[in-house]
């Protein structure tokens, strides 16, 4: 909040943050490779990637804990990367929350307002409001060590949001929580973001979490952006084989296209593409057991079921075609299949998505 008050956030949907050709090296190791990314005002954007993909580094560059080796970062028409962290209208929810152990909950939440020299009465009012928002007002006098992980998480959120930052950075904030609490916090986080209307930049390595929360997902791979798209787009139309494999499960089919027909060994299907080598992603749930009614442009094939893995509503079948290609199919539970037996399967040709290597 100590930043220049003149910089007002742009209207919802307009560009808030611009990462312009930013690269970062630690010694000889290149962690980010000339990366550019825009974040729209009010958006919930997730940086998704494996550990070492550079997602946390990008977050730390925006927060100001690291300096870019090259490139610039702009926010609301103001250059950000040259400012120290305490002059940026950006707040962070840290991975292990980083609550101050010597301060109680309300002092923790008041920390940023006090640093900005806000009037006492206003601090009190805003701290109460922020704690009510995360349903932690009963704990305002407790020390962080007395709180559970989920409670600490809420306090960390309140501590950041109370400053009304233009951009909230969240560094794997849910990774320390157990599975149930995690699901619960996901929906709370999403609701909270809608309520406050602040732009969220969220870092995670969990693709399901990214899908559940985000307006857009930016997938990072080895310090570079692999694909930036809405969860639906990135799942249904992965641009690359890496994206297809990282987000959800998939079958990768390698083959050649000739005269509008793709030939992937055991499978042949119509494909409106130029001739040449091609790679396709076929989601397991796109494959179904052949039944009486078949979809148009259905491709059918025979395969032996090698394994059947039960997963509640669905089950996963591992298939082997006559030519030795293995495929995975996800079918509704209770399907009439037997292991080591050949069955007929179908998929729609359009569900095989051509992807880049």
């Amino acid at each position: 909040m100590s930043a220049a008050p003149s910089a007002t956030p742009p209207a919802a949907g307009a560009t808030l943050l611009e990462v312009r050709a930013v690269s970062k090296k630690f010694g000889a190791r290149e962690v980010l490779k000339t990366l550019s990314l825009n974040i729209a005002s009010g958006e919930f954007l997730t940086l998704l990637g494996e550990s070492g993909s550079g997602k946390t580094t990008l977050l730390r560059l925006i927060a100001g804990f690291e300096q870019p080796t090259a490139g610039e970062i702009w926010m609301s028409g103001e250059r950000l990367d040259t400012l120290p962290p305490y002059r940026r209208r950006v707040n962070t929810v840290f991975q292990q929350y980083a609550l101050f152990p010597h301060l109680d909950v309300s002092e923790n939440v008041a920390y940023g307002l006090r640093a900005a020299g806000t009037a006492k009465a206003e601090i009190a009012a805003r701290v109460t409001q922020a704690l009510q928002m995360v349903r932690m007002h009963e704990f305002s006098a407790a020390k962080p060590a007395k709180l559970s992980g989920g409670q600490q998480q809420r306090v960390a959120l309140a501590r950041a949001l109370v400053n009304r930052p233009q951009l909230l950075l969240l560094d794997e904030p849910l990774s320390a929580l157990d599975a149930n609490l995690r699901k619960e916090m996901q929906s709370e986080l999403k609701a909270l973001q809608r309520e406050v209307g602040i732009t969220f930049l969220f870092v995670t390595h969990d693709q399901e979490e990214a899908m559940a929360l985000s307006d857009r997902v930016a997938l990072l791979r080895n310090g570079d952006l692999e694909q930036v798209a809405s969860p639906r787009e990135i799942y249904e139309h992965p641009a690359t084989a890496y994206t297809a494999q990282f987000i959800g499960q998939t079958n990768l089919l390698r083959g050649t296209v000739r005269n509008g027909v793709a030939d992937c060994g055991a499978l042949q299907f119509r494909c409106p593409r130029a001739d040449g080598a091609a790679l396709f992603s076929l989601r397991p749930e796109a494959i179904a057991l052949a039944g009486p009614s078949q979809p148009r442009d259905a491709v059918s094939f025979t395969a032996t079921v090698r394994q059947q893995i039960y997963a509640g509503a669905t089950e996963l079948l591992e298939l082997e075609t006559a030519s030795g290609t293995t495929l995975r199919a996800r079918v509704p539970s209770g399907a009439d299949v037997a292991v080591s037996t050949a069955h007929n399967f179908v998929f729609a040709a359009a569900s095989a998505i051509a992807v880049k290597e």
Partner: protein, 265 residues
């Protein structure tokens, strides 16, 4: 992720201040070493005329070397006593409960933080009461007892780091407690034992505050040095101090290597 960059911006004033503190810490040591090679002895500025005469004089000084021998004997005894009882005390503190345990812990560790004169004088009263002749033996008793505190601290830390399940596994595999102690517990503490031994040895070689009240006719090295200091400034003290410094640095180096190794495990 590397978190270094935000927490270490350039701060020339602080760096200058730290340098000045280093200079203060090292000034006397540098002066000491420098003037041990000064022909005109200690004092005056700048030192001129390099000489090793003081070292030659030192090596011919049998009183000093007698005291060095005495110190070595006392230190060896002190290491033995304090490691033995320090190990037992650490084991007792780590894995037994008895009434007065908290008091025992405080008592054992007290010499670490208590001015040496108190421990020295108490032992003097004890020696008089027990009609012990003041000699190297009383000095050794003093060092051995006071330095149990150091041994206990080091070995207790070693025990805390040790994986208790190793002992459980040994017992589970049919080894007797006695055998488990020798084959599992002690080998695990090996590095702590060596490190504590070195530390106690160094501290005993240098001890004066307790020794001061317990010596008889035979001097330890610090007592010999003390006697000469009282008479005035003599350059061979610079020479012996420089030698002590070299030996200490040698021992510290070993100590740190061992410590680093034990921390890596």
């Amino acid at each position: 992720m590397s978190a270094a960059s935000t927490t270490s911006p350039r701060s020339p004033w602080l760096a200058a201040y730290a340098t000045a503190v280093f200079a203060f810490i090292y000034l006397p040591i540098v002066v000491l070493v420098l003037y041990s090679f000064n022909r005109d002895g200690v004092g005056g500025f700048p030192p001129r005329h390099f000489t090793v005469a003081w070292y030659r004089q030192l090596f011919a000084d049998s009183a000093i070397w007698d005291s060095v021998l005495n110190s070595l004997i006392v230190a060896a005894g002190a290491v033995t006593i304090s490691l033995t009882f320090g190990l037992l005390a650490a084991l007792a503190l780590d894995r037994t409960e008895f009434p007065g345990k908290a008091l025992f812990r405080r008592l054992v560790l007290l010499p670490l933080v208590l001015p040496g004169i108190i421990t020295g004088l108490s032992l003097l009263l004890f020696a008089v009461r027990a009609q012990l002749q003041l000699s190297l033996v009383t000095i050794f008793l003093g060092h051995g007892t006071a330095l149990i505190s150091v041994a206990t601290t080091e070995l207790f830390a070693g025990l805390q780091k040790m994986d208790r399940r190793q002992e459980e596994a040994s017992l589970d595999l049919g080894a007797t407690p006695w055998r488990t102690f020798w084959r599992v517990t002690l080998p695990n503490l090996q590095l702590s034992l060596i490190a504590a031994g070195l530390l106690i040895f160094t501290l005993s070689m240098d001890e004066i505050a307790v020794t001061f009240f317990l010596y008889g006719r035979e001097y330890t090295l610090p007592l010999e040095i003390w006697g000469r200091l009282r008479r005035g400034i003599t350059p061979e003290i610079n020479a012996i101090s420089t030698l002590i410094l070299v030996v200490s640095i040698f021992l510290i180096t070993i100590w740190y290597h061992l410590r680093a190794r034990s921390e890596r495990r």
